[in-house]
């Protein structure tokens, strides 16, 4: 029991715990749709690309979270624009944008004379999260969860069968655009705590594990949140006792949960199984 409570005696660890829980909830709620719509590579590009906004915001002395958000929105807008070119597949455009913005971020951050290290943003600094960060994340994350629950039905229709969805009145493209913005929000709230690389982990891995087990969307979302929070808190605990990097440890725990889930569900996905009807 001491193993569980000892780490959280200091207030900075309590803040780290809160920040991790917020990400553990919000990332899978959005990640469920990222996984279902096979947008994980966009999440990856988005998380790397926000580094440009982070770097420029730092250089300008603005809160980096605003910079990250701005870069995310810009990437989303450019993606929509470039995707109208039929010669290039969307995955090509995504890779070009993601790496270009990442490169801007690396160049800007390495030229800064503030001694800010790139690794701070790639892997996060969960131990130095402030109450201000937490309130901001709570507001942004809460808004994201509200948007997803308000649009739950629309997301379901647009994601399963976008043709039918349009026919019955769903604004499929608007839903897609909102989802891309939510993706940027997740990256932003992950930035300080787990970093941009681990943001993708939290976005995709818990939702992917949940996808293997869940029968319907509500289940998948709830399971994703359970996995996300469990992996976040578990990773934080393990990292405390092993003195390892919190962000990377959370990522490892998430990967381990996915591996176990995959193994457990393997027999179920075998081709020969009985259908209850006709």
């Amino acid at each position: 029991m001491n193993w569980l409570t000892e780490p959280f005696q200091a207030e900075f660890m309590q803040r780290a715990l809160l920040a991790t829980i917020i990400i553990g909830i919000v990332a899978p709620v959005v990640g469920t749709w990222v996984v279902l719509r096979r947008m994980a590579n966009l999440g990856d590009a988005m998380s790397h690309g926000t580094l440009a906004g982070v770097g420029l915001a730092y250089a300008a002395g603005v809160n980096v979270l605003f910079g990250a958000m701005g870069a995310g929105v810009l990437i989303a807008a450019l993606l929509l624009w470039f995707s109208t070119n039929r010669r290039l597949g969307q995955e090509t455009v995504i890779a070009v944008l993601g790496t270009a913005f990442f490169a801007i971020g690396v160049v800007v951050i390495s030229r800064l004379d503030t001694g800010v290290a790139l690794t701070h943003f790639l892997f996060g600094r969960v131990l130095t999260v402030t109450w201000g960060d937490i309130w901001l994340n709570l507001a942004l994350g809460g808004a994201a969860v509200l948007v997803v629950s308000a649009l739950f039905n629309e997301l379901r229709l647009a994601s399963f069968d976008h043709v039918q969805a349009e026919q019955v009145g769903v604004h499929v493209e608007l839903v897609q655009a909102i989802l891309v913005l939510l993706l940027a929000v997740v990256v932003v709230i992950s930035l300080r705590a787990v970093g941009t690389i681990m943001a993708v982990t939290m976005l995709v891995t818990p939702a992917a594990s949940a996808r293997l087990l869940a029968r319907n969307l509500r289940q998948m979302t709830l399971l994703g949140v359970v996995f996300g929070v469990g992996e976040g808190v578990g990773g934080l605990l393990v990292s405390y006792h092993l003195s390892s990097s919190p962000g990377a440890t959370i990522g490892l725990v998430a990967a381990a949960v996915f591996a176990v889930t995959f193994a457990i569900t393997l027999p179920r996905r075998m081709p020969h199984h009985h259908r209850p009807f006709g």
């Binding site: 780490p7 005696q9 200091a10 207030e11 900075f12 660890m13 780290a16 004379d113 503030t114 001694g115 800010v116 290290a117 690794t119 701070h120 600094r125 131990l127 130095t128 402030t130 934080l236 990292s239 405390y240 006792h241 003195s243 390892s244 990097s245 919190p246």
Partner: protein
């Protein structure tokens, strides 16, 4: 050995002047390259007025750049090869610069100013901020005077005088520190990164750092918790962070124990504003002393 090198250097610089397109009026100035700010300060003070007439000093690390990881540009390495004398700090303080210096032709005089400086036995992740002990600066000034005198024997007297003046100022600073920090309520100096071991050692302060020596270092959660406990036990009221670096880590610890945070200069580089304000090593150290006296509650 050293004089042999110097003769070779002088010879090369003479030959150089024949082929150079734009020789100066009174023959070639001595081309001196220095690695970063404290070294530049020492060399500039020792060469004094001669600096403008007889010696041309260039600093590798530009203003405001991080000194440890600085990677010299291709153009800088070309210039280094043309230099007569290079002053630097060895011991892996600036690995990239040291690598570049190691590959220079034998004609360039290389002077590691750590020579004669007494190093602390500081374990694996050793602090290299030797210049934060003013008396180490004095040692470096003596070495620099010697090397410069060997390069331009005619100015040996000037260099010796300049060095003596600077060393006197450094000794006064040392005295101010020793007296100013002799009676403090708190004797534990706590900083973000491990950069003030030499300063703490010189003035008999206990020293602890939240993270390792590199500005990118992050503590593990457990060691951060241990630091918080240590700080609380020692009644730390101020946690120091390095000027020009993020203060979050210091703020995190200060927050836990209800302390405040305060900046200390590592004096390893000046940013543009500081240069414009005419800051020097001595002025930075005077401000450090004030910050320390207030942060450690000294009388």
């Amino acid at each position: 050995m050293k004089s042999g090198l110097v003769i070779a250097t002088v010879a090369v610089s003479v030959i150089g002047s024949c082929s150079d397109a734009a020789p100066t009026t009174a023959g070639e100035r001595l081309r001196v390259a220095v690695s970063f700010f404290p070294i530049a300060e020492v060399v500039r003070r020792v060469s004094g007025d001669a600096a403008s007439d007889e010696i041309e000093i260039t600093t590798l690390v530009p203003p405001g750049e991080e000194a440890h990881e600085y990677d010299p540009t291709a153009r800088q390495i070309t210039h280094l090869e043309d230099a007569d004398v290079v002053f630097f700090l060895g011991n892996d303080f600036q690995p990239n610069i040291e690598k570049a210096i190691a590959s220079l032709p034998g004609t360039v005089v290389r002077s590691d100013l750590l020579e004669n400086v007494e190093m602390l036995d500081d374990g694996d992740d050793a602090d290299t901020h030797v210049w934060l002990d003013p008396m180490n600066m004095a040692t470096m000034a003596r070495t620099a005077a010697q090397v410069l005198s060997d390069a331009i024997p005619a100015l040996a007297g000037t260099f010796a005088n300049n060095a003596a003046t600077y060393i006197r100022e450094l000794a006064e600073l040392d005295e101010l520190f020793a007296v100013g920090l002799s009676e403090c309520d708190s004797t534990l100096l706590l900083t973000t990164h491990r950069a003030f071991a030499y300063l703490a050692d010189a003035y008999r302060l206990q020293y602890s750092a939240i993270a390792g020596t590199s500005p990118g270092d992050e503590p593990a959660a457990k060691s951060l918790a241990a630091t918080v406990e240590l700080a609380a036990q020692n009644g730390v009221t101020t946690v120091f962070f390095e000027e020009n670096l993020p203060s979050e880590l210091a703020a995190t610890v200060a927050d836990e124990i209800g302390a405040r945070i305060s900046a200390l200069a590592t004096a390893e580089s000046l940013n543009g504003d500081q240069i414009a304000a005419g800051e020097t090593y001595l002025s930075l150290m005077h401000r450090n002393l004030e910050a320390l006296r207030s942060g450690l509650s000294c009388r």
